[in-house]
Symmetry: C2
Amino acid sequence: MENNLSKSDRDTLKAVYRLTKGVDAAHTGALADALGVTPGTATAAVKRLAERDLVEHERYRGVVLTPAGRQAAISAIRRHRIVERFLADMLGYPWNDADRLAGSFEHDLPQEVEDRLFVALDRPTTCPHGFPIPEPDVSDMPEMPPLYALEAGDVAVVAVPGSTEPEIVEFLDTLGLRPGVEVEVKEKHPFDGPLVLTVAGKERTISQKVANHIFVTRSDQQERTA
Amino acid sequence: MENNLSKSDRDTLKAVYRLTKGVDAAHTGALADALGVTPGTATAAVKRLAERDLVEHERYRGVVLTPAGRQAAISAIRRHRIVERFLADMLGYPWNDADRLAGSFEHDLPQEVEDRLFVALDRPTTCPHGFPIPEPDVSDMPEMPPLYALEAGDVAVVAVPGSTEPEIVEFLDTLGLRPGVEVEVKEKHPFDGPLVLTVAGKERTISQKVANHIFVTRSDQQERTA
DNA sequence: TTTGACATTTTGGGGCGTCAAAAGTTAGGT
DNA sequence: ACCTAACTTTTGACGCCCCAAAATGTCAAA
């Protein structure tokens, strides 16, 4: 288990992890877009990772993470989020800049520095966006579906304004959709229609597009089908 | 003026800067040693830099920095020392670890993060070793000769225990050779012999080897030859 | 002045990551 | 069934950085 992943390898793993959320497999085109490289480059990256058994690649069909690959991806995400936290908490960057900048120097950070940084930051549990920082040796992360994945009757707590577009975040704020706020889905119109929900006692309607920018934690409602 | 220096380029510039302190030119062999690469690799690096007019290279004779190269080297040193300071002040690393670790991730640090880090650290003036952090656009640094460069009669202030070996630092400490302490050279024995000096009223004798590990600031003694 | 020890540069090769463009595959429409 | 548009993979090339080893240059001792 050679553990020397290059910058590209780690970025590719992160992208595959994100792209395979709720989907069968990530296609190389999407991967190339996510990484900002040409399709050929994405294919080459995938082949490198397949060689090391970090992904499984079915030609022309797509790619999925192996358990080892998933572990590596989560480590990479953990590092990314710790560095984001550093940029936000210690250097005062707003969270969208933190995201952008973290990617550029997280790669060569020695593991021991990451560990110390984590402690110095007081063991944060989320990145500045509000996404969880996974434990070092955990093989999956708490699920945070977009609000639009919920159905009528579901109750959840807003975890994060996940958008990278400041205007959207501001808009969400005016609706009261801030981290920690509980929402209940009243209605979900068909054919990708808008969502009607209750936020702090008030009824709100938001579009599918916006609802996909909000990530939530499902409130535990052991809803027994009885 | 393409400003895209690679990791190797910057490390090479730093090494050339240090190696040309008080010498005509740095030879490739010394450079290779300093960088931990083979001689051929050092030659190649020098050729790359010469191509960009950052160094001047006289074949088989050695290499010197151009003004632009000196500027770039100082920027690299500035960054290194700021990162060291970060590791020491924010993460609690001892200074010898800070030195070791800084080199591994300083390269991809975006300039703007370096700038913010500098401010967040409260604009430090020295690295944890005590060496000065040069101003961003300065083309040389205050000189800090090793103690052994002084002659009998010279007076100086200890600026830094420059060694990377903890035992030596501890030894210096027992002699009272701490940063800020004033020393006067009483005698310098010939043929690389030991140095006799006064430290805080007491007379001390230290070997050439040790005296080369201590860096000092010369006390200004406009010694007119009259 | 010659020669040999030593240092430097060149050559040839390899790994990685990237691109542009050619070749191959899939799937949908007719 | 076929054809074609869209996508994926392969190919060939380049830049970077490194090494080992061969070729070249320097300098001083004999």
